[in-house]
């Protein structure tokens, strides 16, 4: 039940993109087509789960016992950057098919603030390891959900005739705003 609450609140109630504003860059950047949105969503889910586990263990077993809390930001960003590289190299070797599907998105993920954001949030929220991993996966799914819905809307909007100044990013912003309004409907269910 406790995990179900974490999952529902992370995916719908406080959606990572539309409510917490993490990972806006890929949200705007790779939401042109549904297929790329799905690929990005899968890559983020994969990396976020691993990154949160590793950073959580690092914090609990290295930084906290040694009183090095203040190195959190530096340690996390290095872990995430190294991890993304390692995942890329391993995928290339172990599963070329998966690598071809996720490959192009992996380098983009290091600068995705959602990964670092979730790693920092689980410490702030005082979660244990299992809760942290569930929270990370649920947030990644919430990211994928928002990205796919948004890509679907943008595919349709491509044909619309919009004023010159609104074309591109401004229109995407207003669309995201309306989507965020729709997600506000979920507030209060948990």
């Amino acid at each position: 039940m406790e995990y179900l609450l974490i999952i529902i609140s992370a995916i719908l109630v406080s959606n990572i993109v539309l409510t917490q504003f993490l990972g806006i860059c890929p949200f705007l950047g790779v939401s042109g087509k549904i297929s790329t949105a799905l690929g990005m969503g899968a890559a983020v889910t994969f990396v976020m789960a691993i990154a949160t586990t590793v950073t959580f263990l690092t914090y609990d077993y290295v930084l906290k016992p040694l009183g090095l809390d203040y190195l959190q930001t530096i340690a996390y960003i290095l872990i995430i950057a190294a991890l993304v590289q390692m995942v890329e190299i391993m995928l290339k070797k172990v599963s070329p098919a998966l690598y071809r599907a996720l490959g192009v998105f992996l380098p983009l993920i290091t600068t995705n603030c959602a990964i670092l954001g979730v790693a920092l949030l689980v410490i702030q929220k005082d979660f244990d390891l299992l809760q942290s991993v569930v929270y990370a996966v649920a947030n990644a799914l919430g990211f994928a959900l928002a990205l796919v819905i948004f890509a679907g809307i943008r595919e349709q909007l491509e044909l619309a005739d919009v004023p010159a100044g609104m074309r591109g990013v401004p229109l995407a912003m207003v669309t995201a705003g309306i989507l965020a309004m729709a997600f506000m409907g979920f507030s209060g269910i948990v």
């Binding site: 705007l28 960003i77 603030c113 004023p163 010159a164 401004p170 995201a176 309306i178």
Partner: protein, 202 residues
């Protein structure tokens, strides 16, 4: 390069928010009020200027292959310094006993590390220019970012709470809470960008 052209470049020509569309996460998340937007913008300016100077000094001695991770470590160090300073000096509760400025900006202070503007300027400008121009570049782009966030924060605060920098301007019946909430961030930024495109971009 004189001071005026650097400021002009940062605030209008290469405005990080309205022209380059970089650093969207803090732009949307921390602009619930004018003062929050301004503080976030200034915190980023400090990190950007200092990391630009440090990277400009170090660039020649960093091997090309490991330059991005090295830049990130330099940036992360300055972010940690700013984070600790803000938690020490800006952590007093608000006038109405609400969350302190540090708490309101929360996770977005450490997230300055992954703000593409900072790494972008390190790579595009500081790594191939002398320390002094890099400092001014950091200040110019940083002020452009701060000005954009302050503008966005002011508009959202005015529409949502009827005030700017806490000074009440509109009666309570005119408040539209939506603009302080998440959807308002996207909508206000979208329309401000459209206005910027229409009137200022040549």
């Amino acid at each position: 390069m004189n001071v005026r052209s650097i400021l002009w470049n940062g605030v209008l020509k290469d405005n990080p928010v309205f022209v380059l569309v970089l650093g969207m996460c803090p732009t949307l998340a921390t602009t619930t009020s004018a003062i929050n937007g301004l503080s976030m913008g200034l915190a980023t300016t400090v990190v950007l200027s200092l990391s630009n100077v440090a990277i400009s000094l170090l660039a020649s001695s960093i091997p090309d292959k490991v330059r991005i991770p090295s830049y990130i470590v330099v940036i992360a160090s300055f972010v940690t310094i700013v984070d600790l300073l803000m938690s020490a000096y800006l952590n007093t509760p608000g006038p109405d006993g609400g969350a302190s400025l540090y708490e309101q900006l929360g996770i977005f202070i450490p997230l300055i590390v992954v703000n593409c503007i900072v790494l972008g300027r390190a790579e595009a400008f500081a790594s191939r220019n002398a320390p002094l121009p890099s400092l001014f570049d950091g200040i110019g782009i940083g002020l452009g970012f701060a000005a954009s966030l302050t503008l966005l924060g002011s508009v959202r605060e005015l529409l949502g709470n009827g005030s700017v920098f806490g000074i009440s301007l509109l009666p309570e019946s005119a408040h539209m809470l939506l603009f302080v909430l998440a959807p308002g961030a996207f909508i206000v930024l979208g329309y401000l960008m459209a206005l910027f495109n229409r009137f200022l971009k040549k």
